[in-house]
């Protein structure tokens, strides 16, 4: 390793996915996150097994749960519905809160920046990894629910919320659309988490802040006196995915939800960039 070899200014490869892959490997290889994923996956298991053991009649229990006996696919929707208010946001809050604050806390941030990793690139990679994680978490819950539901109760046509029947492949497509919609909602939360993560060197603090924000938004959303505020709340349109289970698909709520998610994502990724781009890294 003589210095003469290095004297030429190194040229960066134009497209490199190595750092992004390394980031995914860091998230999905971490034992803490495996435990989190196991918790996420346990809910659809609990639901399907409980339904199998008790066999509730129609009209008994929450909407989707009662439909599982008719079509195992509903186990996926039931599990997603139960996890959307708390478990899924908690998972995304943990990953996004850790994004920058975790590296700052360990001190690895200063070593990444001196590699060098451009700060904008660092945020882009961190954000992309959050999106991949959110999608994986949703697909995990839906996948475990669907597979177990289909094994225990079988498939068949799907009864839509409008009362019509959809053939099985179309029903499966609808479930996938619901997954994508939830991922978009959780991505917006991840963007908020990424921003909060640039404010602190305490990843747990960032995670708790995002979680409090989520729960506060959910609470405010059920106070009728604040109805003027509701449509600006980040969680307001989360439950609109029911629109995707109508026949034909209703776009009102989902469209507004996607718009809201896009707005939150743009605002908070930009805020994260503005904050982190100029920040002194003294951790």
């Amino acid at each position: 390793m003589s210095a003469a070899e290095a004297t030429v200014t190194p040229t960066p490869r134009r497209v490199s996915t190595r750092f992004f892959r390394s980031e995914l490997w860091l998230i999905f290889g971490r034992r803490r996150n495996w435990v989190g994923m196991a918790v996420l996956a346990s809910v659809p298991v609990l639901i399907t097994v409980a339904v199998k053991l008790t066999s509730p009649g129609p009209g008994d229990g929450p909407d989707f749960v009662s439909r599982i006996t008719g079509n195992g696919l509903f186990a996926a929707l039931a599990a997603l519905t139960l996890e959307l208010p708390l478990f899924l946001p908690l998972a995304v809050a943990a990953i996004s809160g850790d994004a920058v604050a975790g590296e700052a806390n360990l001190g690895t941030l200063r070593y990444l920046l001196t590699v060098p990793v451009d700060r904008t690139r660092l945020l882009a990679v961190k954000f992309a990894a959050i999106v991949v994680f959110a999608l994986s978490a949703v697909l995990l819950v839906a996948g475990v629910g669907a597979v177990l539901g289909l094994i225990l109760f079988g498939g068949g046509p799907m009864l839509t919320l409008s009362g019509s029947q959809l053939p099985f492949p179309a029903g499966l497509g609808r479930v996938l659309l619901v997954c994508l919609y939830m991922t978009a909602c959780l991505t917006a939360l991840g963007a908020i988490g990424l921003f909060v993560s640039t404010l602190t060197e305490q990843p747990i603090g960032a995670t708790i802040a995002v979680l409090i924000l989520t729960l506060a938004s959910e609470i405010l959303d059920v106070i009728p006196q604040l109805s003027w505020l509701h449509r600006y709340l980040p969680t307001h349109y989360w439950l609109a995915y029911g629109d995707l289970l109508r026949d034909p698909i209703a776009l009102g709520g989902v469209g507004a939800g996607l718009l809201s998610a896009a707005a939150y994502t743009v605002i908070f990724t930009t805020a994260a960039w503005a904050r982190f781009g100029s920040r002194d890294v003294s951790s």
């Binding site: 390793m1 003589s2 210095a3 290095a6 001190g107 200063r110 070593y111 990444l112 001196t114 060098p116």
Partner: protein
């Protein structure tokens, strides 16, 4: 900015939001190919300077360049040629040493992925960590952590190494190994900025020295030049201190001091052999005679004060 300086700064200043001026208008000049000892008491602004040099924090005032390129504008092109250790090692505790290095290499867009595995292992080997490469970082001792941070700076050939107290926490053997490694790198043409408070380290491997005190660069130059600035002293061991002191004063030596059987004085322009001759002529019994250059420690203390308190 000059091309034969690997690091150059002009009026580099950092005032923190608290109002504290951590680095106060320093003009660093680290010649290409030198091993530059960056000295200073704890809290004198060494680490803040290093953070400024690497673009981790923004200067309140002043400019600087690395390898002749203006920072932070040229960071993307220059920093791959710079290996850095800043304020101790920092890695992911649940990853192995090898996986931590792989991650850093993956983050480097200019690194060749096809040689990554070989380069990572070569770097681990150079710091003697290959046998423990698969262990989790969490289980590493302080010395092993320090070695891993050093290995990270060796993932590719570098033109400049900026090392913040690299031998901190190492055992004596480790310290020697690191010194030998730095010597080999310097012999290969790599410029090294070595922040330290170990004067022995500076005496053994540095060619140049910069001394920080209270955020200011109070001295800078080649080690030989700085040494020459401090005057050598004559030292006489004798059974007749009073007589010896009288002779030394008579010869015009300044700053004569007597401690027990030893008399010392600044040599000045007087030739040492004449001092001995004069002592013998006056029947002063001479048991020993030496001319000693002021050691680095005295010089350092002279520049930064005796106080034990860290600089606020």
């Amino acid at each position: 900015m000059s091309a034969d300086l690997a690091i150059e700064s002009r009026g580099l200043t950092k005032r923190f939001r608290s109002g504290q001026v951590a680095v106060n208008g320093i003009d660093l000049a680290v010649p290409t190919g030198s091993v530059y000892g960056f000295l200073g008491p704890n809290g004198s602004g060494k680490t803040t300077t290093i953070r400024l040099l690497l673009g981790l924090i923004r200067p309140t005032a002043g400019t600087h360049s690395l390898l002749g390129e203006p920072m932070p504008r040229a960071a993307a092109g220059v920093l791959p040629r710079v290996g850095a250790m800043v304020e101790g090692p920092a890695f992911h505790p649940y990853l192995s040493g090898r996986d931590n290095l792989r991650r850093l290499d993956a983050a480097d867009r200019t690194a060749d992925p096809s040689t990554a595995a070989a380069r990572v292992d070569a770097a681990l080997d150079r710091v003697g960590l290959l046998a423990a490469a698969g262990k989790r970082y969490r289980q590493y001792s302080l010395g092993m952590r320090q070695r891993l941070a050093l290995a990270a700076t060796l993932l590719r050939p570098r033109d400049l190494l900026i090392l913040d107290e690299p031998t901190n926490g190492l055992d004596p053997q480790g310290t020697r190994e690191v010194r030998a490694l730095l010597g080999a790198l310097a012999a290969g043409g790599t410029t090294v900025l070595l922040s330290t408070h170990l004067l022995s380290e500076v005496e053994q491997i540095c060619t140049h020295v910069g001394v920080m005190h209270l955020g200011r660069l109070v001295a800078q130059g080649s080690l030989a030049d700085l040494r020459a600035r401090t005057e050598p002293r004559a030292q006489v061991h004798t059974g007749d201190p009073a007589g010896a002191a009288r002779v030394l004063s008579g010869l015009g030596l300044a700053d004569v001091s007597v401690t027990g059987g030893t008399v010392t004085a600044r040599v000045g322009e007087v030739e040492p052999e004449k001092i001995v001759a004069a002592l013998v002529r006056d029947d002063v019994p001479v048991r020993g005679f030496a001319v000693t250059a002021a050691d680095l420690e005295e010089m350092f203390v002279g520049l930064t004060g005796e106080g034990f308190d860290v600089s606020g």
